[in-house]
């Protein structure tokens, strides 16, 4: 699907000034965008600058952000996972099923959600790495399969009546503060993924695979094993997101989290991860998640309907990718 550019990679004669490149980096551009939207929101609505409003805001991106962290790694290796929203649907349905059929306690409920996610991710990983199928078709297939299973189990019914201590995962706050459990979890996960991608051998291998899978293979990187692990990880995070989302909504329908995959991929790409693989950073993804949260929350305060918001996210995705390309074209034309 992705055309490989045949242009060789060039080494510059000398490295850019680190301070200059930090200022001109994608991440600092994102921070500026985030600040601009933050300021814009504060002027647009009098209800925005309020600790509880800001705390509510975080719920707009924590669940999707958790998945985006893992998705970033998958996309950096040059693969993609379109099935994440359907994994949420299946995990949430199985949690409801476990609760209503066996009456399991909260810890088991959480375990069911997370393990379902892991299982789904492993299934994707198996198809991609063992059967060597293109991830885009595999996950279009499992996207339909996983949610289809949720429909088979639930049909037009819904599960509710989740226990009170389970709801804490999606609605709870740390002590009496305005900081939600979801936000803390996202922050911890972001740090873990940052270390994993940028400060471990594993992370270097992820980049190596994305830049040139064949060369990575010949340098002793177990390409398939790493890809398999990454699909499992994405499934796991989707399962975790399912726990949080189900706990927050307090009910499960097969149509839960419909369209989440788009928002997740938008976060990743907006965060500067190359859709062709090989480049990206966790910091970028985290800021991008924040931007999406700010945009949707700000529009929500202005009573903009969800479907219209999706125009903004869709345009944001295209514009953010198009702008650097247009800038480069403009620069090349001048040179």
């Amino acid at each position: 699907m992705t055309d490989m550019s045949s242009a060789g990679r060039q080494l510059p004669d000398r490295l850019d000034n680190p301070l200059k490149s930090a200022v001109l980096s994608w991440e600092s551009l994102l921070v500026l965008v985030a600040l601009a939207i933050f300021v814009g929101n504060s002027f647009a609505s009098p209800y925005f600058l309020n600790p509880w409003s800001l705390s509510d805001l975080t719920f707009n991106f924590t669940e999707k952000g958790l998945i985006a962290l893992a998705m970033a790694l998958v996309i950096i290796t040059g693969e993609i996972d379109l099935s994440v929203a359907s994994i949420i649907a299946l995990a949430s349905t199985l949690m409801g099923f476990a609760l209503h059929t066996f009456g399991v306690p909260t810890p088991v409920l959480v375990l069911v959600g997370v393990l379902t996610g892991l299982g789904c991710g492993a299934f994707n990983g198996f198809l991609v790495t063992v059967l060597k199928l293109p991830s885009i078709v595999v996950t279009i297939g499992t996207m339909s399969l996983f949610r289809g299973l949720a429909y088979i189990i639930l049909g037009d019914r819904s599960y509710g009546g989740y226990p009170r201590d389970f709801a804490w995962f999606g609605q709870g706050y740390i002590g009496d503060s305005v900081i939600s459990f979801e936000l803390v979890l996202f922050a911890v996960a972001a740090v873990l993924f940052y270390v994993l991608l940028h400060h471990t051998n594993f992370g270097r291998r992820v980049f190596a695979i994305g830049n040139n899978a064949t060369a990575a293979q010949f340098s002793g990187v177990r390409v398939d094993r790493i890809k398999f692990v990454l699909f499992c990880l994405t499934g796991l995070m989707s399962g975790l997101a399912a726990v949080l989302l189900t706990a927050r909504l307090g009910s499960t329908r097969p149509s839960i989290a419909q369209g989440f995959e788009l928002d997740v991929i938008t976060m990743v790409v907006l965060g500067g991860v190359s859709i062709l693989g090989g480049a990206g950073s966790i910091i970028g993804v985290v800021i991008a998640a924040l931007i999406i949260g700010l945009v949707t929350f700000g529009l929500g305060l202005l009573n903009v309907p969800g479907i219209v918001m999706s125009i903004f996210t869709g345009s944001l995705l295209i514009v953010v990718i198009a702008l650097p390309i247009l800038y480069k074209m403009w620069k090349e034309r001048r040179a």
Partner: protein
């Protein structure tokens, strides 16, 4: 004989036949000519869409925005008809094709001129187009009472024993077949799918060819926008929600390789018919329609496994390097 056995379309046709026979054994009325024609008519829209998607996939791209394009052009044409019922229907249909082609051209321009990966572009326009349906309609529906009689009845007319809707599918299939097999553009779709680098050296403009594929898929989506709305007689924001995956599924089941360059008109049509037959058979044998989604998912996975096996034996890689580049 060997060639026939290796032919994917033959196997798919046999699989469809097996489903039909299997269901008929328990419910003899299933395979009455009338019912089979109904299934064909029900599947017409999917067949046309699958052909448009195939052109795009052949060029190593994907168009996830087709269903949203359909919903948007459908809403435009329904609102136009409700507001100006005197506009003749053929003119409306032409307008739909042009509107759909324009939306497809928007995708195509981004892919061609800015070189943005098609999946990103169409994932974006998937939401943008559907959001626009809400914006232009204000979330309201256009229902049967607001549409003119001609608007609703045109596709229900019968010509030579077949509904006009089926004729639409037949004509579109014939045109796409000619395009794919008898024109330089059609051959270029295949060429850039098989080897974009070699295509450049033979003088094919790869970007422009992809652009044309998106215009084609857009035009077909636009046409289907009218056909869908006048068939189900309701235009709303939710029209054909999630249908983009069914279209891709039809192609994949029909043997169109997602890696580009491989696929036939017959295969894509059979892929669509397969889904149509299965979806029609489910209620007959008493399976809840809620199984549809999982079954098409499983069918996609099965088809892609089979495709991969078929493609691997095809051709011999002379230079290991060529495989990496392609």
């Amino acid at each position: 004989m060997n060639r026939i056995l290796k032919n994917r379309e033959v196997w798919l046709a046999l699989a469809i036949l097996a489903v039909v026979i299997g269901v008929t054994l328990r419910f003899p009325r299933f395979s009455q000519p009338g019912n089979l024609l109904t299934i064909f008519n029900d599947t017409s829209i999917l067949m046309m869409l699958a052909l448009g998607q195939m052109a795009v996939i052949l060029t190593r791209s994907i168009d996830l925005s087709m269903a949203s394009n359909l919903a948007l052009t459908g809403m435009i044409v329904a609102m136009t008809n409700a507001a100006f019922p005197f506009i003749p229907i053929p003119l409306l249909i032409a307008g739909c094709v042009v509107a759909g082609a324009a939306l497809g051209a928007f995708n195509g321009i981004l892919v061609w001129k800015l070189d943005i990966p098609p999946i990103v572009v169409t994932l974006g326009t998937l939401t943008i187009f559907r959001g626009l349906v809400f914006v232009i309609s204000g979330g309201a529906w256009v229902n049967a009472a607001q549409m003119s009689t001609d608007f609703i009845q045109l596709q229900r007319g019968v010509f030579l024993g077949l509904p006009i809707l089926s004729w639409f599918a037949i004509v579109v299939a014939a045109l796409v077949y000619v395009l794919m097999t008898r024109t330089t553009l059609g051959r270029a779709f295949y060429a850039i799918g098989v080897n974009p680098t070699a295509s450049v050296y033979t003088g094919i403009n790869v970007g422009r060819t992809k652009f044309m594929a998106f215009v084609l898929s857009g035009a077909i989506s636009g046409l289907c926008g009218y056909l869908w709305i006048s068939r189900y007689v309701i235009a709303s924001v939710e029209v054909a929600g999630g249908y983009e995956l069914t279209i891709v599924a039809a192609c994949v089941i029909g043997g169109v390789s997602i890696a580009g360059g491989i696929g036939t008109v017959g295969g894509a049509l059979l892929g669509a018919i397969f889904l149509g037959v299965v979806n029609n058979a489910l209620p007959v044998i008493g399976v809840s329609p809620f199984w549809q989604m999982a079954i098409s998912g499983a069918a996609i996975l099965l088809a892609v496994v089979l495709n991969a096996r078929g493609e691997r034996s095809k051709g011999r890689i002379i230079l290991k390097k060529a495989e990496v580049v392609a």
